[in-house]
């Protein structure tokens, strides 16, 4: 790798059911990012990377990257791309930008994720169809395997095979939604406890409503620059130290390696750890933003990211090891459960949170103690057929 890249700032829109268009959201996030980094203007940007999953379906608009370039006045002279990798599209955009910078093609990239998901109330089934087509529509989507129902199967198998309890799932929601109560852009800014989760509507048993993330309009943007440029701009940045992805030639139910285990997450994490020189992630990682699209997801990720023995994920939350003051502070942002999940924006928001935890620019109630220096982001996508992991550090290695 000739050089690495670093996040030097970024910004958010408010996330939720927004009275705003896809283009409005892109402009809000772009402005927030440039306002946050006075040393970089749209004229400085050489590469533009846009994470967006379904503008064609939710907003009936394609070729969105040049739309963003025009809206934000970005005169791209090196690389422009839109990434689509379902729920990991934001991290995919960030990874493209990192690789372009590492390859010496450019020094300054704007990485932005935008999703407009909420449609008028009488169009709920149309919106749901645009989620169901993320799995193999012909053989899985057709059977009603939408996000909640699919992850309910995963939860049922994990509980069946490893004895994971309903209370352990609920504890994940309690932790993350409590963090989100102190996040001003989050969709769900209300703390809940385990009982609230257990008593919420059984949307797809064993999962209840409060085990699920939301349908969210929102955008997030960050500026990723070369290491050399980062040193010019700031003393505190989030340097990319490693990145891995895995997809095991499988996407539909019959071909996935497992429902209750995600070996793709292990492969992706091990690749990132190796690049970052991380030998013991639990000891060496201070903060992580991992893909809690449903409460069960976070529990499986504790295991398959290599933090705890397989089947022990439920105990990891129960024992407080993923709490703000635990072994690894997990999802201090509030996670997808608390912030909502505007598909293409989530990975970018997660990375921005790691940066903010490094700079300390977060409210006390959800600030990771003892000045965190190392972090990780993780996304799964679709039927959890792909896992993407990136490690970050406050200081260049």
């Amino acid at each position: 790798m000739t050089q690495t890249a670093a996040i030097v700032g970024g910004g958010h829109t408010r996330w939720g059911d927004r009275q705003a268009t896809w283009k409005d959201l892109a402009q809000e996030a772009g402005k927030a990012a440039f306002d946050d980094v006075p040393g970089v203007t749209p004229d400085d940007v050489e590469g533009l990377f846009v994470g967006a999953v379904q503008p064609e379906r939710f907003a009936f608009q394609s070729h969105v990257a040049p739309l963003v370039a025009e809206l934000l006045g970005v005169d791209v002279d090196s690389m422009i791309a839109r990434t689509e990798l379902a729920c990991a599209s934001g991290q995919a955009a960030l990874r493209y930008a990192w690789l372009a910078i590492a390859a010496g093609q450019l020094d300054v990239a704007l990485v932005i994720g935008v999703e407009k998901m909420n449609l008028p109330d009488d169009r709920t089934e149309e919106m749901q169809s645009s989620m169901t087509n993320v799995v193999d529509r012909e053989f899985d989507g057709v059977n009603g395997l939408n996000a909640p129902s699919y992850f309910s199967l995963i939860a049922q198998r994990h509980m069946h095979e490893y004895g994971t309890t309903r209370e352990q799932l609920a504890a994940v929601s309690e932790k993350n939604k409590t963090h989100a109560a102190n996040n001003s852009y989050a969709q769900f800014q209300k703390a809940v406890d385990v009982d609230d989760v257990l008593e919420s509507y059984p949307i797809a048993p064993p999962l209840n409503l409060l085990d699920c993330s939301g349908i969210t309009d929102g955008a997030a943007a960050l500026l990723l620059v070369s290491e050399r440029k980062a040193r010019e701009l700031t003393d505190t940045a989030a340097y990319v130290t490693g990145s891995g992805q895995s997809c095991m030639a499988s996407n539909s139910i019959n071909n996935l390696p497992s429902l209750s285990a995600w070996p793709q997450a292990t492969v992706a994490a091990e690749k990132a750890y190796e690049q970052a020189g991380i030998e013991n992630p639990v000891d060496e990682l201070d903060v992580a933003e991992i893909h809690d699209c449903f409460s069960i997801s976070e529990i499986i990720e504790y295991e398959d990211l290599g933090w705890v023995e397989k089947g022990e994920g439920g105990r990891f939350i129960e024992e407080g090891r993923s709490a703000l003051d635990g072994d690894i502070a997990v999802n201090p942002r509030g996670g997808l459960l608390g912030c909502g999940h505007p598909l293409g924006a989530t990975g970018i928001s997660q990375a921005l949170e790691i940066y903010r935890q490094f700079t300390g620019d977060v409210p006390d109630a959800r600030r990771v103690p003892d000045s965190p220096e190392t972090g990780l982001i993780h996304n799964l996508s679709g039927s959890a057929s792909v896992h993407s992991v990136m490690t970050l550090a406050r200081d260049p290695q």
Partner: protein, 167 residues
């Protein structure tokens, strides 16, 4: 400089109803004109669940293919699959149904391990409520004819519990 002349004004019509694209009902188009795995659907229409097997490396695929993902060969033959299996996992769809399924909620869906073969597929489970089912329950194939807006006779598979003789 201002211009206080009133601009001209007209009304343009958009259709009262805009039909959805043809694939949005989730049952794929199944005829020989539309898909190269039409034989899967042809056999299903004749009450047989089947899939492809590679003539070169003997790999069994599901879903059916036109190229073998194990050896990239394209000499594939259709082979029958068992019509019985056991429930590997199941849940119920309540609120989040896509187009074409909202009238069916709540409905049970799950994953079925086919008997004696290494195929595990997702399917709707008819004839049972969520609370009546357990992992490992025996289920059997059911064929549904799709009554939709197209002339084509479309068909799909579901499963239903095997009723014990004593019931």
């Amino acid at each position: 400089m201002t211009d206080d002349t009133t601009p001209s004004r007209d009304t343009v019509a958009v259709p009262e109803r805009i039909d959805f694209p043809r694939l949005l009902d989730f049952y794929n188009l199944q005829s020989e004109e539309e898909t190269r795995i039409h034989e899967f659907y042809d056999r299903l229409r004749e009450d047989s669940l089947s899939t492809t097997r590679c003539d070169e490396c003997d790999a069994l695929h599901f879903p059916p293919r036109i190229v073998c993902p194990e050896c990239t060969g394209d000499d594939l033959s259709y082979t029958s699959l068992p019509h019985e299996g056991t429930l590997f996992a199941f849940s119920v769809v309540r609120g989040s149904a896509p187009i074409g399924m909202t009238d069916d909620v709540p409905f049970v869906m799950g994953i079925v391990d086919l008997e004696g073969v290494d195929v595990r597929l997702s399917a709707r489970i008819d004839g049972a409520a969520y609370d009546d089912l357990s992992i490992g329950d025996r289920v059997t194939l059911k064929i549904v004819d799709i009554d939709g807006p197209r002339d084509e006779d479309r068909v799909f598979y579901r499963f239903e519990p095997v009723r014990s003789v004593s019931e």
